[in-house]
Symmetry: C2
DNA sequence: TCCATATGTCTACATATATAGAAATATTTG
DNA sequence: CAAATATTTCTATATATGTAGACATATGGA
């Protein structure tokens, strides 16, 4: 993940139709769903949706595969978790967030501090 | 954090100048730095920068305060960590990510799985 | 091969965004 | 109160984006 990829990813997520598509696809996991079903579920015309899906595909947020006449789209979980890692690593300071790998599972463990402790007092 | 705030935040992060501003401000922590210094450091004209800063301010990504003639901008760490939490909670499924609070520190602990195990084999 | 289905591409247009010059506003200093 | 400094607002303009109708392409089945 570099700054250009991140910008393109944020751009893909910064539009209501696309963010709704992404969340719908996330719900359906790696199996995903056909473009037409997304179009129906969200009430977006197929050509408009196609525009957004290729936008998201270009950003690597979604993956696609053909199955017969349908093209199945699914959320790209690896890329998305990579984006989250980027936000933590490159956009957060060490004193607010830390990230480490769990050797056994390979999972990333992220710790986000509450940098401003629970709204009791404000310093100056 | 709701979907509308998230869209506005992603939009604020989806532009090179703004993402560079944000990263610069993050480096400088809660103290932040004057608008003019950001303008100089990034080589962006002051009025153009002002446009982007108010964009980011509107998105709640940055905070500002006046100090004498200067207006000091700083990254809004609370909001940003909230955005990361949103991405994990609302955009990731439980089988790819989990998030919990550490009772003592109040920190959020996020666990991101490698959903596709380290590129050995591909299932169909 | 012809037709129905599923999706993508082309096109046009309305709207939104980024940019920067010029002018305006707020603050400190003399 | 005038001048200098710091930043924002106004304005114009060029470019980018989102939308959807019309058309094109790809697949599977009769």
């Amino acid at each position: 993940m570099d700054i250009q990829k991140a910008i393109i990813a944020f751009d893909a997520l910064s539009q209501e139709t696309r963010l709704r598509v992404f969340r719908l696809l996330v719900e359906h996991g790696p199996e995903g769903m056909p473009a037409g079903t997304v179009s129906e579920k969200l009430g977006v015309p197929h050509n408009t949706l196609s525009f957004h899906l290729s936008h998201m595909s270009n950003a690597e947020l979604v993956l696609s595969r053909r199955e017969g006449r349908s093209i199945i789209y699914s959320a790209n979980f690896d890329f998305f978790t990579g984006l989250i890692r980027y936000m933590v690593e490159d956009c957060c300071r060490a004193d607010f967030a830390s990230i480490r790998k769990d050797k056994k599972s390979g999972a990333s463990i992220i710790e986000l501090m509450n940098c401003c402790p629970p709204k009791k007092e404000k310093k100056s």
